[in-house]
Symmetry: C2
Subunit: 352 residues, 2 copies
Amino acid sequence: MIIDDLTRRPGEWLSGTGPLSDIVISSRIRLARNIAGFPFLTKANANQRAELQRILRENIEQLKLDEPVYYVDVERITDLDRRILVERHLISRQHAEGQGSRGVAIGSRETVALMVNEEDHLRTQVLRSGLQLDELWREVDRIDEMLSARIEFAFHKRYGYLTACPTNVGTGIRVSVMLHLPALRMTGEMERVIRAARDMRLAVRGLYGEGTEAAGDFFQVSNQTSLGRSEEDIVNEFKHIVIPKIVDYEQQARQALLREKMVALDDKIWRAYGLLTTARTMSSDETLALLSHIRMGVHLGRIDRMSMGLINELFIHTQPAHLQKLCGEMLDGEQRSITRADYIRKRLAGEN
Amino acid sequence: MIIDDLTRRPGEWLSGTGPLSDIVISSRIRLARNIAGFPFLTKANANQRAELQRILRENIEQLKLDEPVYYVDVERITDLDRRILVERHLISRQHAEGQGSRGVAIGSRETVALMVNEEDHLRTQVLRSGLQLDELWREVDRIDEMLSARIEFAFHKRYGYLTACPTNVGTGIRVSVMLHLPALRMTGEMERVIRAARDMRLAVRGLYGEGTEAAGDFFQVSNQTSLGRSEEDIVNEFKHIVIPKIVDYEQQARQALLREKMVALDDKIWRAYGLLTTARTMSSDETLALLSHIRMGVHLGRIDRMSMGLINELFIHTQPAHLQKLCGEMLDGEQRSITRADYIRKRLAGEN
């Protein structure tokens, strides 16, 4: 089963490779599309939803993509498997918690995921580790063209692609970049960065999108609207202005820490290591925060006891659904915290 | 120099031996005395202070005690050495910070210390590890009798021994027991114990006496007044009622933790170990709190990576003055925290 296979590895977006990967975790672009002649999902009945899924699945399965694609019927899988897909950023929380016919087509390397019957009929998303927006844009545009050759999408001459939510009308594009900004957090400058991003009409969210806190110093920056600008404009603004600027701030903050607060920095990094190797119970928020410090420590050459590969695996494997999948049983919050701490200790003991 | 020699070892009161030493750190009895014909120190001039010291020193040096006694002229030693004596519980903070002729005679094993010109002309104190009140009472009474044969102490037929502060009038005795009560702290029952002790007219203080917080779960219980009761009464109340009751509460709380909160208990103990072995900067309060958890862990058989000998050494060697004495230079607060963390890490690395 595809989801069981996925669970064991970190997935492309957490591979820790790609340009600027010490600060840019991953890049993502998604396009929102709806099939002409069908109502938006808020108005669609069960038959129409089923028919939408049938059409989209059939056409997606015939696409020639760089990696094999597996279709997952999200309505029929277990709740735990749905949450695995959310933790891997392959579907949204809304899609997991939704109702009725819906699915997702997942590429075997997890660089592509097409959600069917989420907020729109189709959301095509591509994701890669590091800052790779040009590559992603070429890829998602190619997939969109292949699909457009087979399916007629709802399009208005003046407004562009029509979408269920007005913020997506136009190009239907959303560009998001996941950033790791521990130094800006430590130096107290993060608030200023968030305000500047908001002034540029960018949204700044946590690790799991809308409504989630910025756990473990991870921040997701994305465009808020897509009307009236071309896809290339939006991608270029991210590539050349927004992300380089934030990356530069973070790099400066890291250098300032190395220069002026070396002991405080090392203290944070090594205490994180100390707690991860000894704690007997640990929440997933604390785990993210501690791994975040270690990740920075490895990139700054302040700790050599953990490989980036292991850190990335721990990031995903300590998430609640992954943890339960790996240990093979459902656990309540308290049991999860104990199992998580045990799992981390064993993995770290194995590493040394 | 006696103080340099003392600095390197934990001292009798921290040896971790003696009855009930898993909970009772140490017992102490002191007697307050003043020489007849001299004013109390608040009224004494410099000449009288000097004369008092001369008389007391001469007589103390001629006593035949179980261990060799060294007289330290507290007025003439460095401020750092004074603070070393405070950290070792050989003199009070008031004595260290005082003015004018004053001193202390210290036994080589640190089970006896006679402060000259503190609040009273003479304060004879005996201390031992664990609960050893009978032994201490016999010892301090013997010293007091030997001194009384040589010096006439101010005594009033109706009130008893006269002292500078009315709370000491009568027998001049203060019995104090230092307890380690981490389980009562963890279970939130400590407040109740403190209230009960206060109802019995006992004082409950922190590790360094009056005005200090209960750092690292260490509490010092002592009688508040000594008027109208015999020394034996007070000692017996401590030995047979007060201390057994508190020890019993703590033992019950520890058993309850083992039974019902094993994971939380282990988590606290092991996280303490994790932080002590990795932190790059550590305050003395945090050090005490972490060592406190480890101490409980060793006594409950939950951790075997540290010996009690090492824990006791770390307790005293990480105190500010000891730390500076050991590293051979004066350090500000930030430097001390760094040096402390380094020292602890090295000692723990040596142990494993």
